[in-house]
Amino acid sequence: MAYRCNVLLCTCTMCVSVGALKIRNKLEEEIKKYNLEDEVQIILTGSSWLCTKGPTLIVQPDDVVYQFLKEKDIPNLVEEHLLKGRPVPSLMYIDPEELNPIEKLQDIPFYHDQRLIALWNRGIIDPDEIDEYIARDGYKALAKVLQDMTPEDVIQEIKDSGLRGRGGGGFPTGMKWEFCRKNPGSPKYLICNADEGDPGAFMDRSIIEADPHSLIEGMLVAAYAIGAEKGYIYVRSEYPLAIKRLDGAIIKAREYGLLGKGVFGSDFNFDMEIFRGAGAFVCGEETSLIHSIEGEPAEPRQRPPFPVERGLWENPTNINNVETLSCLPRIINFGAKWFAGIGTEKSKGTKVFSLAGKINNAGLVEVPMGITLREMVFKIGGGIPNRKKFKAVQTGGPSGGVIPESMLDLPIDYERIQEAGAIMGSGGMIVMDEDDCMVDVARYFIEFTRDESCGKCSSCREGLDAMYEILTNICKGKGKEGDIEFLEELGEAIINASMCGLGKSAPNPVLTSIRHFKDEYIAHIRDKICPAKSCVELIEYSIDQEKCTGCFICNVNCPTNAIIGEKKKPQTIDKSKCIKCSVCKEVCRFDAIKVE
């Protein structure tokens, strides 16, 4: 059937949670009303767009995007745009600087500075339609490797491309495959790591939701190269939509003979199954993940031996991250040289990040390696909301660190980010502004890793506990001279004595924040001040007697009746009752509430 118009509605986990399916129903209803069913087709895509601005949709071929859609907007949108061809500016993306609506997807900086390799098909295909994937050069790479390349050729091609693991470590992918292939044990296994335990990260989930076949094809290419006949995808069970789409995609691929015995009519056999993980952070560590598939407790073990030597059921096993695998079809199709032409000397290709925190365009982005953090935050991310001042960006989640403003011109590159004390990590990127307290941020991450530690090593178990206690005390104004030095020593000790990557990286957020924001620690410890005015125990609320008009709004809203005074007269706060909830500050229209 020939449609003249496609409405691409994002139905990723987040858009569905804010009502994307209601929007679909309403669209269907309105389209029927104008008899446009034969002209306009609705496609449910995954992860198409700005994830905090959902539900979103794109109208093609006009290339117009709409955001924050509500059911009541739909009749107008269908009549104006889909029937009469007049795009509706009030529903378009608003530029955070210029405050004007931008009509075309391609004109939004968030979009046109991105380069899509892993997310090649983001928002453009229906993830449940294998034919649409095929029409975008899908399974061509698989055909190419089976017909024209030996496994050694494939390994060489990936080595030449410079691809490095996107799961956090950045290990060269081709080299890992070669180790695995050369190991004599058999059968060999391929595992895709989709545990994604980094809080706030959702790169892997989005790739799977938007384009499951890229991952399946990537796994087929990897399995052919290393000589594996069986693969597992380890997905956390908190990702039901990703699991459903992947499951459907695997079934379709089997029907087409792309999985199973004699893939594409060749003599290569490969099939895969989904393994639902419990989703603890430590399960993402490769040896722990293997234990989990084997039905053992998900605890890491000493490496070496590495999984490529002794992995799943003691056999050679190659583990790669979702994003690493999803890049492969494009690398095979366009060639190693093309991929190696993107990025920096040692970091090739693109990287997917989930931008979060105090940033205008929070969402999922894929950028070429080598762009600077400044471009990431201010151009693609659209800067900091409410005209607040940028303070730092945290990369690598709980294993990473904070990077201050003075280092914003740092290019995104494995080595350069490491020099700054942080890590590239799997792609979580949290932006912080002047209201964020760096000691509190460090405390938050240590609380997370402390809770997620498997407890096997005492350095990690007890060391993180101790760090957490010291940081909590500092935030409460009970810090002592020498705490900073002690945190540094303890951090080094935990890094040196712990067995797995969790313990070896957990102190990073503390060590980098001490390195770049030592003055904030000192202010908390010596002066008992929180410069960001965020640590509750170190601030006090009071009312500016000059500015207060006695409008009484704060008095009515204070949950503990801590505000006293007569109507039309300046109010005061009873500090013994005040719980520092900040409600008064939010409701006062005269800027009379002071926080010190």
Partner: protein
């Protein structure tokens, strides 16, 4: 569903090509039907369905058909704008389904502008 061979990839691609071209916006030609209130009143919907039938019956894959708003020329509706890749857009006015079919054959398929129906072709201005 039968198992496929590498040769089938091209066939499948061909089958869904029109849909993908629409989404990628990379067709050989683009036809806009002006669908303002007066356009609709003057019969733009029938022009749209004529074009859809032409595309469908000839199984054409690389042409984008879309709507656009009022062109500011209410007296000359229904009208369409034809944009063949790498050529300036041409507006056709006072259309009927019959005229539309002729334009489709000559301009869109054969690349020959139908001057007698065109509005000062190559120019966007009213003559």
């Amino acid at each position: 569903m039968p198992k496929i061979t590498p040769e089938d990839l091209a066939k499948i691609t061909e089958r869904v090509k029109r849909t993908m071209i629409l989404r990628e916006g990379t067709g050989r030609a683009k036809i806009r039907v002006h669908m303002g209130t007066c356009g609709i009143a003057a019969g733009a919907r029938s022009i749209m369905s004529t074009l859809m039938e032409e595309i469908e019956s000839r199984n054409i894959k690389d042409i984008i058909l879309t709507t656009s708003s009022c062109a500011g020329l209410c007296s000359r509706e229904p009208m369409i704008t034809v944009e063949v890749q790498n050529q300036p857009p041409v507006k056709y006015v006072d259309l009927t389904p019959e005229k539309t079919k002729i334009i489709f054959d000559k301009h869109i398929l054969a690349g020959e502008i139908v001057k007698e129906y065109a509005l000062a072709f190559g120019s966007e201005r009213v003559p």
